[in-house]
């Protein structure tokens, strides 16, 4: 998915409808990420100023949630659930197969692809579960995850 380059004017426009929202920091960070694909470092000050909270508050939320990104995502993002239910139906084997096929290790940083472990998408009945470029994949296998 392609995103526009970071622009403080565009970010201001994205945040402007939220000025009266209670507890806006997480919603604002999500809105910025949805627009630009990640949260640019300048967005921290912008959100703090817009909603009259400290930069530390914004930084705290940004670094707490792993799904909020501080850098643009690589072309392909794969998350594989390795929590108990998915492990019981083969997610460990799926991780090994994906690592072998793509020649990458899970939870390490690469420029072109990201394979991350995840701990439950709430789709346990259809495990192994994975998220590929933001799309939930049930009964995941090597073909579905690396298609």
């Amino acid at each position: 998915m392609s995103y526009p380059s970071w622009s403080i004017e565009e970010a201001t426009r994205v945040l402007s409808p939220m000025k009266n929202v209670q507890g806006p920091v997480l919603i604002a960070l999500q809105a910025v990420q949805e627009r630009f694909g990640y949260v640019h470092e300048d967005a921290v000050s912008l959100i703090a100023e817009t909603f009259n909270v400290s930069r530390a508050d914004v930084h705290g939320v940004l670094t707490y949630y792993h799904d909020l990104r501080k850098t643009p995502a690589p072309a392909r993002c794969i998350q594989i659930c390795v929590a108990e239910a998915c492990q019981s139906v083969g997610s460990r084997e799926l991780v090994a197969a994906v690592e072998k096929k793509l020649g990458k290790k899970i939870d390490e940083t690469y420029a072109d692809v990201e394979i991350k472990s995840a701990y439950c998408f709430g789709n346990c009945a259809l495990g192994p579960s994975a998220m590929v470029d933001g799309e939930l994949v049930g009964r995941a296998n090597l073909e579905k995850v690396t298609a």
């Binding site: 789709n123 009945a125 259809l126 579960s129 799309e135 939930l136 994949v137 049930g138 009964r139």
Partner: protein, 109 residues
Amino acid sequence: MSAIVYIPNDSAAISIGADQVAALIAQEAVKRSLDVTIIRNGTRGALWLETLVEVVTPQGRTAYGPVQPSDVSSLFDADFLSGDTHPLSLGLTERLHGLQVKIVLRISA
């Protein structure tokens, strides 16, 4: 009269292809000049049967599942819009509820 087909629209069903199944049923209906109305509903919770496709028949809703995108053509060949049998036939949906096991935990004082 338009045949009514229910296809779940929740994230669990979508994760295993409900959107593709819905799109293919719509395409196949056009190809075969059949009048089909697709209604996206919530899941009945029988996730192992997803994608659970239901068709309205005079006897009630008839279920088919788990339907994969590759099954759509054969469902039309079997005239599933009339509730006819197919290897994925599950019978009347309301009878499926009788197959579900309900576990109730009771906390004693």
